[in-house]
């Protein structure tokens, strides 16, 4: 039994922290919200230099061949400084492609980052819903995932349908996800510049998050021979990655809040000495530590207990989303009025918290999935 970081993992995390510290990501986020979109730094070259695009691609295909947990460490560092870097979309896509035997042509360029992929998020069936579903553009009802049409005379197939709020879709070279062919889920890869592919960049509330509505209209596609389990695992990998990113943001929000609670005095005492303030900060710490433990669970389960990965990843998503909301709100309240002003960083973490919790199915869907997985386990016992 060993649930601690290896030396290599500590190095990976420190290297990520160092590389990202060269950018003023928070200032850029504020400027972007003020309308200066050009303020957002392009972090993809930094990711490529560090080898992050190939984290989950095996060495034979030019990647680093690392585990999901290593990817979570990097995403956690991105979350600390609200860095929008393209990995949330790229990494789950490369995980599906790695499991397909007919996708080798894509791998080298995706591993180096010369080309960028985006994952088209499709939620696998649950104990009470037999269908695969996509995030809707609006509303509570889940949307259908696209369908693969019958092959044309040249044997090529095309895909029709749409995905809303796809992370990192703008600027991606290849879109990878799940579609239905004869009612069965299959993996698909679509080139972003192909006919019939439309990617509409959308921005909501948090300028650090690159999103796009993807519409496929008879778009030429390659049907991947990745197994269905791999398609489901990609969804849960995306859940774990956004959770890791959220928990990274929680770390910063907590650090900044604690520092302020030590230096700000009222009624002759540091405010951190008051139980009410102290207890709200330890509540953030409690949720953060729970999230960290579940990151280990998800990181271990993906390879070590694939049957539990859906549960583990949904659980960390559920806890991570709630933790970020708690941390951002606590950050604002500990700072008092200043925490709610435009000049402060707290609103940027607050904005990140509100949008993140609604992406990739939303935190509430993940919470429901935890229940569903446990009910299924109880039935099997």
């Amino acid at each position: 039994m060993n649930l601690s970081l290896s030396d290599e993992q500590v190095f990976l995390r420190e290297a990520a922290r160092g590389a990202l510290s060269r950018f003023k990501t928070l200032e850029a986020a504020r400027a972007a919200l003020d309308g200066d979109a050009s303020a957002m730094p392009d972090l993809w070259p930094t990711a490529c230099e560090a080898g992050w695009p190939g984290l989950l691609i095996d060495e034979a295909h030019g990647g680093a061949g690392l585990d999901a947990f290593d990817a979570m460490l990097v995403l956690g560092e991105c979350g600390r400084v609200l860095a929008g870097i393209g990995l949330l979309g790229h990494l789950p896509a490369t995980a599906i492609l790695s499991d397909a035997t007919n996708a080798a042509e894509y791998m080298a360029a995706l591993a180096t980052g010369e080309r960028r992929a985006a994952y088209l998020p499709a939620q696998p069936p649950s104990d009470i819903d037999e269908s695969w579903s996509a995030d809707p553009a609006s509303g509570l009802a889940r949307a259908p995932i696209p369908t693969v049409g019958a092959p044309g005379e040249d044997g090529r197939v095309s895909v029709t349908g749409s995905f809303a709020f796809v992370p990192d879709a703008p600027g991606a070279d290849v879109l990878v996800g799940t579609a239905l062919r004869d009612e069965e889920p299959v993996g698909i890869a679509v080139m972003a510049d192909a006919n019939g592919v439309q990617i509409e960049p959308v921005s909501r509330y948090d300028a650090t998050r690159s999103l796009g509505h993807v519409t496929l209209e008879n778009a030429p596609a390659v049907v991947l021979d990745a197994p269905e389990a791999s398609l489901a695992a990609a969804w849960y990998l995306a859940q774990a990655l956004i959770a890791a990113e959220s928990l990274g943001s929680v770390e910063t929000a907590l650090d900044v809040s604690v520092a302020y609670a030590k230096e700000r005095f009222t009624f002759g005492r540091a405010i951190g000495s008051y139980q009410a303030v102290k207890h709200s900060l330890t509540e953030v710490l409690r949720q953060l530590e729970n999230g960290r433990s579940l990151l280990y669970y998800a990181g271990w389960a993906r390879a070590g207990a694939p049957g539990e990965f859906a549960l583990a990843a949904s659980a960390v998503r559920s806890v991570g989303g709630r933790a970020l909301d708690e941390a951002a709100r606590t950050m604002i309240s500990v700072h008092g009025g200043i925490g709610a002003t435009w000049e402060h960083d707290a609103p940027l973490y607050f904005r990140r918290a509100q949008l993140s919790r609604r992406l990739l199915g939303g935190t509430a869907q993940a919470t429901d999935r935890v229940a569903g997985e446990l009910i299924a386990q109880a039935d099997a016992a």
Partner: protein, 405 residues
């Protein structure tokens, strides 16, 4: 990162499992068909079973070999606990003695005390109880008022009251924290004693709780005579000695929390059994939130274990895990009652028992508020609340408190 046994651990596990396979038919049956019901008989057979586990090296796994232990680490202790639970046999009766009080005596006791008490404790021949908390000294343990006064011949006379004492009704000995000097600040005037529970002047009374059952006791001491050899760790050093016990208490709770039965698998099974509830969005949401946190605690336990096995002190996650377990179980009891209805509160219901037990558990081992203070100060480095008891002799503090009230 991995959760697998090393080859050495796997060999140890196999050895424990094979002994349990061979001997589990000798274990007392405490649940289900053929279960023993008489309380006295349960204690008697569990003592015998503890003796067998000790003979086989399945008790005192982390105790040094010099004191009849196995000299192994916390991971082996957990492996042993897991295998005992897997074999569906009871563990040792005196978990408090072997887990917390024995290690305290090993750390602070005299050679005479070690040879007199440890062997009989380990084998279940003499059960022990922990006599720390008092009606007015719980989270603020150093405020104990049980008073031991030294006599001219060097012996001691003890008077006072302890509370929340598990196993006192059948314990042979207790480890007791008493005030021996009231004229120094409160942490300094304390001394730890071994108290024979059959001594003249010791009265044990069951303390019934919300469930109606008496899981704990109150213990009264009326001018109890103690020999000079009853002192553990030196006169005036009681606080340091107590801290050792409290450290082992945290470790015991941290490593044994899964065994408390407050886990997502059990709660989910109760929801899954109701055809309507298992499809109800609100029920599922509540179950999902509760379960996510309880699942986290399982892996927090593995993190604690990793730290211990590397000789590190476990981090804040282990203290906060108790908060998560108790609040999660309280929410689960509420959810399950909403689903089942009043039948969940039938007197013989497992849920009624759990629901009754949890409000008290919230304060066990220190209230949640004090735990959050400690973590806020020690882990986050936040400044302490101003205190009025620092550096003031205990006797003076008491009169101040009296005047303020």
């Amino acid at each position: 990162m991995d959760l697998d046994d090393t080859p050495e651990q796997a060999a140890y596990r196999a050895q424990v499992r094979s002994w349990l396979d061979e001997h589990k038919s000798e274990a007392p049956v405490l649940q289900g068909p053929g279960a023993i019901e008489d309380e006295d008989e349960i204690i008697a057979v569990r003592r015998v079973w503890q003796g067998k586990l000790a003979e086989a090296g399945l008790a005192g796994v982390t105790w040094p070999k010099d004191y009849d232990g196995q000299g192994l680490g916390p991971i082996e202790q957990v492996i042993c606990n897991q295998e005992i639970s897997r074999a569906k046999v009871p563990g040792i009766l005196d978990a408090i003695g072997v887990g917390m009080l024995g290690p305290t005596i090993i750390a602070h006791g005299s050679e005479e005390q070690k040879s007199r008490y440890l062997g009989a404790m380990l084998h279940g021949d003499e059960v022990w109880c922990q006599l720390f908390s008092e009606p007015a000294a719980g989270s603020d343990l150093a405020a104990v008022q049980a008073r031991a006064r030294q006599q001219d011949d060097g012996s001691w006379r003890l008077s006072g009251q302890k509370v929340w004492t598990t196993n006192a009704q059948f314990a042979s000995y207790g480890l007791l924290l008493a005030r021996t000097d009231a004229d120094v600040p409160k942490h300094k005037g304390l001394t730890m004693f071994v108290v024979p529970m059959d001594a003249q002047g010791v009265t044990v009374r069951g303390l019934r709780q919300i469930s109606g059952e008496a899981e704990f006791n109150e213990v009264f001491f009326d001018d109890v005579a103690l020999d000079t050899s009853a002192v553990v760790g030196g006169v005036g050093n009681g606080w340091g000695t107590a801290l050792t016990t409290l450290m082992y208490e945290r470790v015991t709770i941290g490593l044994g929390s899964e065994g408390m039965g407050y886990n997502s698998t059990r709660f989910a099974a109760a929801i899954a059994a109701d055809e309507h509830a298992r499809r109800d969005p609100e029920v599922r949401h509540r179950l999902g939130e509760i379960s996510s946190e309880l699942l986290a605690v399982r892996f927090t336990g593995y993190r604690t274990l990793t730290a211990l096995s590397k000789g590190q002190v476990p981090g804040p996650e282990s203290g906060l895990a108790k908060v998560t377990i108790v609040s999660g179980a309280i929410k689960a009891g509420d959810l399950i009652s909403d689903v089942i209805g009043p039948d969940a509160l039938a007197e013989d219901s497992e849920w009624a028992y759990m629901i009754s037990f949890l409000p008290g558990l919230k304060s066990a081992g220190g209230t949640e508020e004090i735990l959050r203070n400690t973590i806020g100060e020690r882990v986050l480095g936040l400044p302490p609340e101003p205190r009025l008891d620092k550096g003031i002799p205990f006797s003076e503090l008491r009169s101040k408190e009296g005047a303020a009230a």
